[in-house]
């Protein structure tokens, strides 16, 4: 992509369409929102909810199966942060997604496509918070 040599617009678009198709199957087939944070908490029995636990668990187990298949066939690049960053980030993400009732999938994809006012506000908020956090970390010289 001109100006952004590291960008992968085609892979992004193809992968994005698959994600949207997956969420559409969940919505039209099961009448459920494919929100990963909510389904994860439900699968682990952390949060109550109307979604059956087995259904949530089936979706959550599918995620690494799908990613593992792609890894086997074409290989996957994944540069993960150091353990301390993983633990801090994980705990904050877990708490925040429960308090805010959703993450990138629930609010960012399922909610935005429905033009939900809640999801529009949530997505603008977590995107902004993410941009500020990454920018501040770069200025402070912190690289996970």
């Amino acid at each position: 992509m001109p100006g952004f040599p590291q960008a992968a617009p085609v892979e992004g678009l193809v992968g994005g369409l698959l994600i949207g198709l997956a969420a559409a199957i969940m919505l039209l087939g099961n009448g459920r929102i494919a929100g990963v944070s909510g389904l994860f908490a439900r699968a682990l029995g952390i949060s109550p909810g109307q979604t059956p636990r087995q259904l949530a668990l089936a979706f959550i187990i599918g995620l690494p199966i799908g990613a593992g298949l792609v890894e086997l066939v074409v290989g996957v690049n994944a540069n993960f942060p150091a353990p301390a960053y993983l633990l801090i980030a994980g705990a904050i993400v877990g708490f925040g997604t429960q308090l805010g009732s959703g993450c990138t999938s629930g609010h960012g994809i399922c909610g935005l496509s429905r033009l939900s006012k809640r999801s529009i506000f949530a997505t603008l908020t977590f995107m902004s918070a993410g941009v500020i956090t990454v920018t501040m970390m770069r200025l402070l010289g912190l690289s996970p």
């Binding site: 952004f4 949060s47 506000f121």
Partner: protein, 142 residues
């Protein structure tokens, strides 16, 4: 396995494959998207665009066939409160620190097992802390 659970599994598999193909399973790429004033990588915007298209169509289909899924109640769309905004802000900070949101974190269990497991366990702890602080909160997700 029931039809519902099989569809959920299929959805999860496609979702995980999409995360891997799109590069969103790579925390460095996600952080590069959030680094708008640095060496910006716009890929995540293409992923969002690609994902929104089938879902926008799906919501329209759902609207035109209200009977089939009428038994399900979907989350509120209008009630913007302090929990939503502060929760989203906290999530965004954690997302920025690690470059990992819940979907890629779980999907990466098959790609970077040790790292992903640390993240996922910490995420479960964070969720549990939330449920201890706000025990009475009923589920209205997304």
């Amino acid at each position: 396995m029931t039809r519902e659970n099989l569809l959920a599994l299929l959805s999860g598999v496609l979702f995980g494959a999409g995360l891997a193909i799109s590069g969103m399973i790579d925390p460095a790429r996600v952080r590069a998207f959030l680094d708008v004033t640095g060496n910006w990588d716009p890929t995540l915007a293409f992923v969002m665009g690609g994902a929104l298209l089938p879902m926008a169509i799906a919501w329209q289909i759902l609207k035109r066939s209200p009977k089939t899924l009428a038994s399900n109640s979907f989350p509120s769309t209008s009630n913007v409160d302090w929990r939503l905004i502060s929760g989203a802000a906290i999530f965004g900070i954690g997302w920025g620190i690690g470059g990992i949101c819940p979907g890629p974190g779980v999907a990466a269990l098959a790609v970077q097992p040790m790292s992903a497991l640390l993240f996922v366990l910490a995420m479960a702890v964070g969720m549990r802390i939330h449920s201890l602080i706000f025990p009475a909160r009923s589920a209205s997700r997304a």
